[in-house]
Symmetry: C2
Subunit: 430 residues, 2 copies
């Protein structure tokens, strides 16, 4: 963990180093992924059989081996604990409500020149969701990807998920049931992403692919961007907590650890105006690390990437630091989070006040937990219904309208050296 103070003479330099520290390893998987994509594109289902045997130790022999049936998902939903069922239902209901309010409006109007103009939003025909298997199999991720697609109106949602040695996570299957998913393919890795993008005999191609995955999955999505739409280039998770001295240090310590426990490359940063409080949070983190089953991961993250920044004045100094870090999650554990929020230009999601730990946003608050990482909040947004929709503009002129604006179009077409453009307008002006 690094400790910085804005009163340090070398603060500017150290803070810049913190902002620019790269936690995303240059992945050298690009070549392997390119190879996998080509093999699946030409080899289709046979290629999937071979990769799945090799990487997941699972045989796709019979027709029944390929998919997890909706009945199996319904069964999983019945078999999990009642409080887990209720929690999934509550999460799904709240995520649905938030994303329904996100649906964009169509436009259709005629302007003063008599030109009819507008735009129509429509869902894509088919979306593919990647759901990791093994350790990082998160039912919450399935809900956060599937529900916006459903709300957008996507008719076909295909899930791909690896089932190592045939095993799948019952909670993920239960979440699939809650989200109404009925097409789940037992394939994973870059090969599954390739199958979704190009299609195979069994798996029809999709238009958009979203969902988290390992370096191979992320690289496959990156390489296929343009063949299909993708959600974003994702990196390690991060949290930035702004807290004054009137917080319980244990609460803030737990908030910081909730990101650190994800992965050694995760990053947790505290900004506070109280040096004594900073020390108490640091002590509490050390204590809690010893009690967590995820302590080893969290410690690795906190040691390598954690930071505490002491400022002399939160309102005066924090906004610039927050904007430069452009973090995925920004927690404002202060009395008046509202006024600080107004100064924040770059953040994936903001958590207001002392009673809003970031974990609420991971599960039940409603907004999407798929958010821009690695300072990408400067230019990108969390997953939304818009990622599963596209807009068609339209234009309609009559005889009068083309006389009003057509000559200008012809002038510009001539000026650009495009005579057929000009002629298509001029013939109608005769």
């Amino acid at each position: 963990m690094k400790q910085l103070s804005t009163s340090d003479p070398d603060f500017a330099k150290r803070f810049t180093r913190l902002v620019e520290a790269r936690r995303e390893a240059d992945s050298d998987v690009a070549g392997q992924v390119l190879d996998i994509l080509r093999t699946v594109r030409t080899g289709g289902d046979n290629a999937l059989v071979q990769y799945t045997q090799r990487y997941d130790g699972y045989s796709l022999v019979e027709d029944d081996d390929w998919r997890v049936s909706p009945e199996r998902c319904a069964e999983a939903y019945e078999q999990i604990a009642p409080e887990e069922r209720e929690a999934l239902d509550l999460a799904a209901r709240r995520i649905r409500a938030y994303h329904e309010a996100q649906l964009p409006e169509n436009r259709d109007y005629t302007d003063d020149d008599g030109v009819r103009l507008g735009a129509t939003w429509r869902p894509v025909d088919a979306a593919g969701l990647y759901v990791p298997g093994g350790r990082a199999a998160y039912p919450s991720s399935l809900l956060m990807n599937a529900i916006p697609a459903r709300v957008a109106g996507v008719e076909r949602i295909a899930v791909v998920t690896p089932t190592p040695r045939g095993n799948s996570n019952p909670l993920v299957l239960a979440a699939a049931h809650v989200a109404g998913i009925d097409e789940i393919w037992r394939v994973g890795g870059a090969q599954a992403v390739a199958a979704l993008a190009y299609g195979t005999d069994r798996i029809a191609p999709v238009d958009v692919i979203t969902g988290p995955g390992n370096a191979y999955v992320a690289e496959a999505k990156r390489q296929l961007y343009g063949v299909v739409g993708i959600d974003m280039v994702a990196g390690p998770s991060e949290i930035l907590v702004v807290a004054d001295g009137r917080n319980d240090p244990d609460w803030i310590a737990a908030d910081l650890l909730s990101q650190a426990e994800h992965d050694p490359t995760s990053q947790s940063i505290l900004i506070t105006d109280d040096e004594g409080f900073a020390a108490m949070v640091s002590d509490s983190i050390d204590l809690q690390l010893g009690q967590l089953s995820t302590g080893k991961t969290a410690k690795a993250s906190w040691d390598a990437n954690g930071a505490i920044i002491v400022v002399s004045d939160i309102a005066g100094e924090a906004p610039e630091l927050i904007n430069r870090l452009a973090a995925e999650h920004v927690e404002l554990a202060i009395d008046d989070p509202e006024s600080l929020m107004r100064d924040i230009r770059h953040a994936g999601s903001i958590f207001l006040g002392r009673m809003t730990p970031e974990a609420l946003g991971d599960y039940v608050a409603g907004p999407n937990h798929v958010l821009p990482t690695g300072r990408r909040a400067r230019f990108s947004s969390g997953l939304s219904v818009l990622d599963f929709m596209k807009r068609t503009s339209f234009i309609g002129l009559d005889d009068k309208a083309i006389r009003a604006i057509g000559p200008a179009a012809a002038t510009l077409a001539h000026a650009e050296g495009l005579p057929a453009h000009a002629k298509s307008v001029e013939l109608r002006l005769k």
Copy 2:
């Protein structure tokens, strides 16, 4: 040009071949571009000097050599023909009006569980626009990229444009003046894109890069996607005209040629229910090709990629064909374009009725002319103010709200094996 009819016994096969025909060459520039990006990232301005000398035959020696001044743009605006000035002004005014109506609304509400939720849209801090030099230097492209960025509220807009042997297109400079651009760098190619993404001593980095360019520029943007936001992966232009027999064949021929004249890889397709009309359009195209200064390019495109599809019934057969082609531009030169539009799920932009040639949309109608090509209208949209903005969600709970939904979050966190997530909630529920 290919001629198809839905009554042909092998129509399905031939149409599928038309849909799947690849007009985008597999570009082998990836390695060269990677090399350029690395060189600019480490070499900065010196690398730009060298590349600009090599590719543009232009020396960046003095400070004054690097930029085109706003005064030079104002001068260009004064020197072009009065009707060109008026046309640029009219285009800018209409593009601005359409994009202003696109600005998204922020949300801020408290739901039934007492949870405050919302989302705030903000512009990116800085946008970089690529403007091609030489033959394809289009003032309209500058307006279509710069105005949405301005309307979005982007404070800094940096234009990069190659000036081969020092030459720049006066109309492009005039358009820059109209759009209020005051930062124009005389660099181009992949090296200019790299400079915008990484920043150099002279050129501050930007957050989003948009604008058309050659294969090197397109590949540079693709490789830098994630480091910065980009508009889209663009391919050759295309038009799909649906026209019944009650059109002037010369008009429809000119519409088809207006895409064909862009590039030999462009594609123009006519769908009609009148075989005689199809023949007249074909004849008119042959005639007009001989009269166009762009005839050679247009002929190459029409010969290689053009198609006429005769259907027995437009309302019944055209929608499926249109949706499968998912074209950039779809012109509906029929009496009731409205009802056909309702059946179109995939199109970049739709042009309604006999008096709306596509070229109006290229210049003055108002909607953006940067549109998805190569069937990407299935999953992506034209350029808009949203490409220059990003959304931050926010969440605020009080003591009562966390008691309502916190326990479900803790349950799911435990189920996912993330104890610090659970603890951050549970400590607050005590």
